[in-house]
């Protein structure tokens, strides 16, 4: 099992395009991946399900925890971490 805790620094949080990118990235991996919003204290949800990810209500500045378990868990965590840390290449304008 691999896990990482990250702070959302992009403008809109896990919403709109960032949520879509997050889910699309998670779906590339075979491992089970969950994500939860530590700031709001939500239970973990399926990181490959956009509706579930949206219900985290993860806004700018919130902390999220991503957990991956499976054959490619390390790569999955690395990819999601890179995505969040790049702020989803968010188009602010």
């Amino acid at each position: 099992m691999q896990q990482v805790t990250l702070t959302l620094t992009n403008a809109v949080g896990l919403h709109a395009r960032p949520a879509a990118l997050f889910v699309q990235t998670a779906a590339r991996f075979r491992s089970n991946i969950t994500v939860r919003n530590l700031t709001r204290g939500t239970p973990p949800v399926n990181a490959k399900a956009i509706l579930a990810v949206l219900t985290l209500g993860a806004e700018h500045g919130h902390e999220i925890e991503i957990v991956a378990e499976g054959p490619d868990e390390e790569e999955a965590i690395a990819a999601l971490q890179a995505l969040v840390e790049s702020r989803f290449g968010e188009d602010g304008g």
Binding site: R17, N46, I50, L51, G89, D91, G92
Partner: protein
């Protein structure tokens, strides 16, 4: 009985016509129990596939009409159709014998309720997107009623709010205006209205619900109000204003391709601000004399790696060709902490508008700028190319930029690559310091283009995206005008020109003031080109100069606007 409802102005113009409420289709009762689960499963699968195909077609067909944010909603909706959690809930209900439509709609509504309960309005707004995609599937499952079609005659579209998937269903030919209960000037309906060139009033509030279908409405998109069943006298006046407005527009469009000369024969270049090839084509059709601001971010955003030099050359060449030999001012990459790029890591900044952006970022990543300059010089051979640097605040920066450009040019010359002969290099003036010291920047540039949006918010310390202070950020504030005057004074008599590429350039009240201050190029949204040209032709340079002189002496922006209105009155009546 007439009643006037005040909202927010979202797109200018006057319209008179019948109200048509945009309603969502009413559906019959859902069939709760299904046939065999396998049958229901297959029906749902087919409906989801049809919905996905529709979404793909909508995205494709409306690529030019919708903003990237709106297109992103369709993309998210496509993902929602395949959401494994949603499908798991649907499957559980199907296994218990529910019909496909009941299983689907219960699962969708469960997510809608969860999203609507979130505190952040951004997330709440996603609930509407989920319901929208849910309804799309239900329509296929139930062979459900098509959404009510627009009447055959032109109407004023009245709605609580409009989703992108709904605005694309409207026939633009039959929309006279938009009036919405909610939303803001950046709502989908407002964006569409501006693109279609029809008036829009938004955020009217729940009073709007009192409007019955077919009621005669008068919409003033400049003042931001809608009047229900206006009195005959008001209608007569409005008809006259509407006719005059349309005639002015038609007249303006008829001569949009002619140069814009003041009454005493001084040519003002009316150019367009564009951010894509499609925008440039639109600008050319509308009669723009040039592209006054090409935002190159479209090449860099929403991708995981930087564009290659060849990609850039092809994109710039296509844009230069689309303008048929007219000048194109290309702004080099202008991003900052508010719109970071995945391949250009930037620390999060508490105040990105005062942080590393524009050329400040380029200095940290000179390779990206070097490649952009190479691509521009390669693409620009044989075209009137203008290169412009954003967010320059010190003379040392512009010296560094010129040195980099010289280095790139020399390298290309050594490689035997043809270079543009008609090249000018300029800078944007957004930072007050650059305006105040314009004469020190002058030796390094061929032109200045004033970015009044940023200049205004820096001068007045008012964030234009913060509704609480956005009203203070009026570019006609005398403090901003005095800075513009500093720049034009520095350029005067030197053969260098000054343009304005902020929203102020397309503000018809600002046009004479800017010309009077010595601005010779106005770069505006492509659809505004004909009107701005018409506004230029209304004034003589002498009148504009007198007006500008008086404007500089006012104490605030409303006083400047009163001054212009008073000066306009004898001309327009």
């Amino acid at each position: 009985m007439s009643r006037r409802l005040q909202g927010l102005p979202a797109s200018p113009g006057i319209a008179l016509g019948p109200a048509w409420w945009f309603r969502r289709a009413e559906r019959g009762p859902l069939r709760a129990r299904g046939e065999d689960p396998a049958v229901e499963r297959a029906r749902l699968e087919a409906a989801r596939q049809q919905a996905a195909a529709e979404l793909a077609a909508l995205q494709e067909a409306n690529r030019d009409r919708l903003s990237p944010e709106e297109l992103a909603i369709f993309e998210a909706q496509t993902l929602m159709l395949q959401d494994p959690e949603l499908l798991a809930q649907v499957e559980a209900a199907l296994a218990e014998g529910a019909s496909a439509e009941a299983a689907w709609s219960q699962a969708v509504e469960a997510f809608v309720a969860q999203l609507a309960a979130l505190p952040d309005p951004y997330f709440q707004a996603r609930a509407a997107d989920v319901r929208d995609v849910g309804n799309r599937v239900l329509r296929h499952l139930m062979g459900a009623p098509e959404e009510p079609a627009m009447p055959a005659h032109p109407v004023i579209v009245v709605a609580d709010d409009l989703l992108p998937s709904e605005t694309v269903r409207l026939d633009p030919q039959r929309v006279l205006a938009f009036v919405t209960e909610g939303g803001g000037p950046t709502a989908h309906a407002a964006i569409l209205a501006r693109r279609l060139g029809v008036p829009a009033v938004v955020a009217v509030g729940s009073a709007l619900r009192a409007i019955p279908d077919g009621a005669t409405l008068l919409v003033d998109g400049e003042a931001g109000w809608v009047e229900i069943e206006p009195a005959p006298e008001v209608i007569r006046q409005a008809r006259a204003r509407q006719a005059r407005w349309q005639a002015e527009r038609a007249q303006a469009e008829a001569v949009a391709h002619e140069p814009a000369l003041t009454r005493d024969g001084v040519q003002i270049e009316v150019a367009a601000n564009v951010g894509s090839l499609e925008d440039a084509q639109e600008a050319f059709r509308r009669g723009a004399d040039a592209i006054g601001l090409l935002r190159t971010e479209f090449l860099y955003l929403e991708r995981t790696a930087a564009p290659t030099e060849e990609e850039e050359v092809a994109a710039y060449r296509a844009l230069l060709e689309a303008m048929g030999g007219k000048p194109v001012v290309v702004r080099t990459l202008d991003v900052g902490g508010d719109k970071p790029l995945p391949y250009l890591p930037m620390p999060s900044e508490p105040n990105p508008f005062l942080g590393v952006r524009g050329v400040r970022l380029s200095r940290q990543h000179p390779d990206l700028l070097r490649q952009q300059l190479r691509a521009l010089l390669r693409a620009g051979a044989g075209f009137p190319l203008r290169i412009m640097f954003p967010m320059v605040s010190t003379v040392e920066e512009i010296r560094w930029l010129r040195a980099l450009l010289d280095e790139v040019r020399a390298a290309l010359a050594r490689e035997g690559i043809p270079l543009p002969e008609d090249l000018q290099v300029g800078m944007m003036v957004e930072v007050p310091a650059a305006a105040l010291l314009a004469e020190h920047f002058r030796p390094w540039v061929d032109f200045f283009s004033i970015g009044t949006n940023d200049l205004t918010q820096y001068v007045l310390a008012a964030d234009r995206t913060n509704p609480a202070v956005a009203g203070m950020a009026d570019g006609l504030h005398p403090a901003v005008l005095r800075l513009i005057r500093q720049v034009t004074a520095a350029a005067e008599g030197t053969g260098k020109w000054v343009g304005v590429c902020g929203e102020l350039a397309g503000d018809l009240q600002a046009v004479p003031v800017l010309i009077g201050l010595g601005v010779r190029e106005l770069s505006v949204n492509p659809v505004r080109v004909p009107e701005v040209k018409a506004a230029v032709r209304r004034w003589s340079l002498q009148e504009a100069q007198a007006l500008a002189e008086a404007a500089l002496a006012q104490e605030d922006a409303p006083a400047v606007r009163r001054l212009v209105r008073d000066a306009l009155r004898p001309v327009s009546d």
